[in-house]
């Protein structure tokens, strides 16, 4: 029997994990669709899922700055600071993901103009 955490930090972890799972599943489903627009949407959702997951890898902390200051109490069970590294990673990943999505959209539009169809994998030799 799995005991669901219904309060406290455990609940937040559960919610976040569920969000990552939902975004990832929907994203993967859309990526596998046959039309370019849905594929692009799917990739966007997939990168949201990945970014949330990356962020959570620094552990969830509430109300802590990402820097160690003199005020923090070493005996507290809460971590003294939020981990700044995943935040930097997520920022990089968001920027790269944005640029790539824009590029993919341009390619999708060009492919539509060339192939007269928005199929993600149009037949090679039809004029």
């Amino acid at each position: 029997m799995i005991e669901l955490p219904i309060s406290g930090p455990g609940l937040m972890n559960l919610l976040l994990a569920t969000a990552v799972a939902a975004l990832g599943t929907v994203g993967l489903y859309l990526v596998l669709r046959a039309r370019t627009f849905e594929t692009v949407l799917g990739l966007t959702l997939l990168s949201y899922a990945v970014n949330l997951m990356l962020f959570a890898m620094g552990r969830l902390t509430v109300g802590r700055p990402p820097i160690l200051d003199a005020m923090s109490d070493p005996s507290s069970p809460q971590p003294a600071m939020a981990d700044p590294l995943p935040q930097a990673l997520v920022l990089t990943a968001i920027v790269i993901g944005f640029a790539m999505t824009a590029l993919l959209l341009v390619l999708a539009v060009r492919a539509h103009a060339e192939a007269r169809t928005d199929a993600a994998d149009p037949p090679e030799d039809r004029a």
Binding site: T36, M57, A99, L104
Partner: protein, 504 residues
């Protein structure tokens, strides 16, 4: 000298930026040539230095190892940077003679430089997330390069290639995130000890993360179940791009090798990687399917693409077999594989354009025997080294089944590709003469001759190449020296600034 490791990344990136300021074709070409020449010279200097036991750990932004990002210039990265820079130089030369209708010239040259910068960076970095960033740099350049010259086949191929690689990047990020969440570090040297310290379910999760990472590398390397994108991507690109893309699949394999050797436990990299036999098996599969693909290729460019896939398969076998000697065989094969495949692309483009002169015939004969791994060429030596290496590895490695499959795969792959090349040669050179559809391209001819001579030189220099490969494999199989070195390199004191006192 202190800044040598960063220069092969910075120089091309700087040249690319300068090219965007003045977009005249002649200026861009001169700048590109200058940057490529300088980068190649520095890379060769690094290679020569590393052959005499030089290695360097470069702290980016002067932050010491587990906290900052480090670049590692050892034998492996020096070899790969030299190969990439030389191929880059060739691509710049080829790009010049591309007819203006084939490409809008103001984008090709800068993108080539960015590609070189990204690939060099990926070879040099020793940080997992930095590896991701350099992967994205080289990928975004390759997206642009792939569609150079436009046309329906290139756009459609680009669409598939970009989609596939975006999914790959997402998986890379998941894996890097998991590894950071479990170990708290992204530095490959620091990972080694921390991986070993994990136990129970966290260790299993770490292995799963490593598996995801290896999956991504296999996708980039074009290993078989994930490598189907190659046969629809490489044949449609224009010549300079195809020439430079030869190095792209190697990035995945070197990433794999780096992660497996540096991040594995101190007890040696072989024991800690349950994924290795899988890599070797998929390498065998790739070899066989590439050879069958060569038999069914309908043009020389397609055949050259399959040759690139097959050489990635061979390298994967050498790495995946997990023994110092097989690794040395893979490394000895590396320069031969890159050069032969790149030269084959030049030849293939010339043949597909209808040039069938004496140069093409001699080139075809030489390259066909080199690619199939026939005796005088260094590819043959490397294949023999691999097969002998599997025997030497008998005592402490995988099963006899794996060895049998490797022998069968390598030998059958070579035999099949020889048959395919013989058939193609007969069809091309003994049939009615085709008319050349395009005027002669001097730089392509020169590069073909140049790379044939380089292949010949590699064959003559078999002993130094082999020594270098063995030394590199020894470094990689005993990573503790490099790991120690990377974690111990401390910040350089700066003469200009004093660190301020911490604020009370």
């Amino acid at each position: 000298m202190n800044h040598l490791p960063i220069l092969p990344v910075v120089l091309p990136a700087l040249a690319a930026a300068l090219m965007l300021i003045d977009q005249r074709a002649a200026v861009q070409h001169r700048l590109g040539l200058l940057a490529a020449l300088l980068t190649s010279a520095l890379a060769i200097l690094m290679l020569i230095l590393s052959a005499s036991d030089w290695s360097s750990v470069y702290l980016l932004g002067n932050w010491a190892a587990p906290w900052g990002i480090v670049l590692l210039a050892d034998r492996l990265s020096a070899l790969m940077v030299a190969l990439c820079s030389l191929l880059g130089l060739g691509a710049v030369l080829l790009a010049r003679s591309l007819s203006p209708t084939d490409s809008p010239p103001h984008l090709l040259q800068p993108l080539l430089q960015i590609q070189i910068a990204g690939v060099n960076g990926a070879f040099l970095t020793a940080d997992l997330f930095n590896l991701f960033v350099f992967f994205e740099v080289l990928l975004i350049a390759s997206y642009g390069l792939l569609v150079q010259g436009d046309g329906r086949p290139r756009i459609l191929a680009g669409l598939r290639y970009v989609t596939l690689n975006l999914v790959g990047s997402a998986v890379f990020l998941v894996s890097a995130g998991l590894i950071y969440g479990l170990t708290g570090t992204l530095n490959l040297a620091d990972l080694s000890g921390r991986f070993a310290a994990l136990d129970g379910s966290t260790a299993q999760l770490a292995q799963a993360a490593l598996g995801l990472l290896i999956t991504v590398f296999m996708l980039k390397a074009g290993l078989m179940p994930l490598g189907l994108w190659m046969s629809r991507t490489y044949p449609v690109t224009c010549l300079p791009v195809a020439w430079l893309f030869v190095i792209l699949t190697k990035v995945g394999l070197i990433g794999l090798l780096r992660v497996l050797t540096l991040s594995a436990s101190e007890s040696g990299w072989i024991a800690s990687a349950p994924w290795l036999p899988l890599v070797a098996l998929l390498g065998v599969l790739t070899l066989l399917i590439a050879a069958l693909g060569m038999l069914s290729a309908s043009s020389m460019v397609e055949m050259a693409t399959r040759v690139v896939a097959g050489s990635a398969g061979f390298l994967a076998v050498g790495i995946g077999y997990g023994h110092e000697q097989t690794l040395a065989a893979a490394l000895a094969y590396m320069p031969h594989g890159c050069l032969a495949a790149a030269a084959l692309f030049v030849l293939a483009h010339r043949i597909d354009q209808g040039h069938r002169g004496t140069l093409e015939a001699i080139g075809f004969f030489a390259l066909a025997s080199a690619v199939a791994g026939l005796p005088p060429w260094s590819g043959f030596l490397a294949k023999a080294m691999l097969l002998v290496g599997t025997l030497a590895a008998d005592a402490d490695t995988p099963s006899h089944t794996l060895r049998t499959m490797v022998w069968l795969g390598v030998l059958a792959g070579s035999g099949l590709s020889l048959i395919a090349l013989m058939r193609a040669g007969g069809r091309i050179f003994w049939s009615a003469q085709a008319q050349a559809r395009r005027p002669h391209d001097r730089s392509a001819q020169a590069l073909l001759v140049g790379s044939l001579l380089a292949l010949f030189a590699l064959t003559l220099a078999a002993a130094p190449v082999q020594t270098f490969a063995f030394n590199t494999a020894r470094d990689l199989a005993n990573p503790s020296v490099l790991i120690e070195r990377m974690l111990r390199t401390s910040q350089r004191p700066s003469p200009h600034t004093e660190l301020p006192d911490p604020v009370r």
